[in-house]
Subunit: 356 residues, 2 copies
Amino acid sequence: MTQINHSELHSFIANVFLKKGMSKEHAQISADVLTFADLRGIDSHGVARLSGYLRLIEAGRINVNPQFKFEHRKKTQIRMDADGSIGLVSAHLAMQECVKTTHDYGTAFAGIYNSNHFGVAAHHAIQGFQHNYIGFAMTNASPLVVPANGIERMLGTNPICVAIPGKNGRSFILDMATSTAANGKLEIAQRNGKNIPEGWAIDSLGEPSTDSNILSKKGALLPLGSDQEHGFHKGYGLSAWVDIFSAVLTGASWGPWAPPFVSFLQPKLDAPGKGLGHFVGCWDLDGFNDLEESQNQLEDWIQRFKGSLASKNKEVLVPGEPESRMMDERLKTGIPINPEVWKDLLNISEALNVKL
Amino acid sequence: MTQINHSELHSFIANVFLKKGMSKEHAQISADVLTFADLRGIDSHGVARLSGYLRLIEAGRINVNPQFKFEHRKKTQIRMDADGSIGLVSAHLAMQECVKTTHDYGTAFAGIYNSNHFGVAAHHAIQGFQHNYIGFAMTNASPLVVPANGIERMLGTNPICVAIPGKNGRSFILDMATSTAANGKLEIAQRNGKNIPEGWAIDSLGEPSTDSNILSKKGALLPLGSDQEHGFHKGYGLSAWVDIFSAVLTGASWGPWAPPFVSFLQPKLDAPGKGLGHFVGCWDLDGFNDLEESQNQLEDWIQRFKGSLASKNKEVLVPGEPESRMMDERLKTGIPINPEVWKDLLNISEALNVKL
């Protein structure tokens, strides 16, 4: 593993996007989102994706000079045409617009269409933290997941993120895929030559599979809950909610038409909308109750939960806590980059003549 | 099973609440919510709960003449002191306030504290359907569920409901407990003398249990996902989100202090807030995109999903579809009432001299 300092990594990513024609502002935002993912240990959504984004730029599927159009359809509801932008930037700027609107109304939400992969949801959701705004972010994604009872890939791992700012930098950040396991977990099992647990995936006939390569054999991921007995209609329902808010209602391509992240698969020509879709927004914490009282209660909640009885050798954590611990560590020690990704980065560095 | 016509059941429930001192308006609303649950086949949240509500009224824990206080803290954020009301009424009226506010701003949300059990979430969420408003509803509940890695009952089955109005009466209604299985499913297994599947519950030491009576032996329910390998930190995170929005931020009693539904268990004296808490709200469908376009897309989405490939002898359904089918049926054939519940209702009828 190569270790790299987060600010060096940030500069590299920003310079790469600059070289590909992005504005300075957009390159900075893109680097912010990817570096944040790596700092928080969400390695699948950090710099490991850089070469994927570059291939989409080269394939003409990501527009590095988008003209965003904001439509304020209602006082607190915004629609954004992302003009083929990288989602890292469009979702960020849509959230900034929500933050501004929340100053006046207490809440604001934006639906974004004609976009691309937006990276790690939590980075968008925390944009209102300095104003004590709760953040919300969802996105649809390439179809890999079956509905409950289904065997066809109809949904992405469609994440939901809710981020609630607390006292003393301690916050509640739930950022979860709505499938039982994310694709990245299957890739780790593949690399290690291991099987996956039952309940993560099915084969093309709908039978349970423990083959970590099942996605390359027309298998599919299962929604959170894994099977009927364990409530997979709930994971399906959550994923469907994300698809509808992010894409069906915004004008993006939904369900099985959501454009694939990989550049070698073409988006389908009969798609019902444009690009990927996202949904982001805020609630003002002060709109619930007196701000200080709310933050004191949230702090008490965090302490009570962390202090609750745990299974042997286990610890009860607050959503977002493992990532926040990882961030503290990686800010000090640097970010470990796995050898394959590092090779990728060296190739990019050489091809674009950007110092790594 | 006794079958009862839904409007007869509705009259009975309303008359019972009237006899207990509720206003005509509140008795009607309460009867609406409970009858709706029975019509949709959510029998655990319908008239089966009537005797429970009555016992809470008799114990002085439900106030039948509440003075609601609405505080419009921001233009789109409302706080409601429910003054000990039955939640069936407080959540309904808070949602009505959100619907009115949404006319002006496109969205509105209300946090409710000092309340009681609010019945089936979907009834609150659909209150804006005639205006084409998407509805949202959550509530915290008596602690029965452990956090991921925990063995202490810290959370309720804390439901999340999202209801999206479609064309031709076809809608998307997700209304789900955030635990793997709801308490009602354990009760059914108990009645049938059956074990429960692994992954629903643990015993007091945190070991997996298949005993359907485990809750009476200090066991607890597991969050959606069931175990670490299958993502129970996600179910925990969702349940925690509900607890925070409904109670921590509104001023209600949260987590292990959420007041029990049963009247023989007393709320804890050191509770950090007042009563149960709910969170409800709306988004205007027309605020996402042109209304007709959105509803056409939603209809296409529903048809595409229903037509997708299913496992052998299975069917892919849209969230809310089983309940909507049940409602069509029960509107015609009446509502079946199980013998124990029927006995309960006859007792109530006799004691209060209300015709059944």
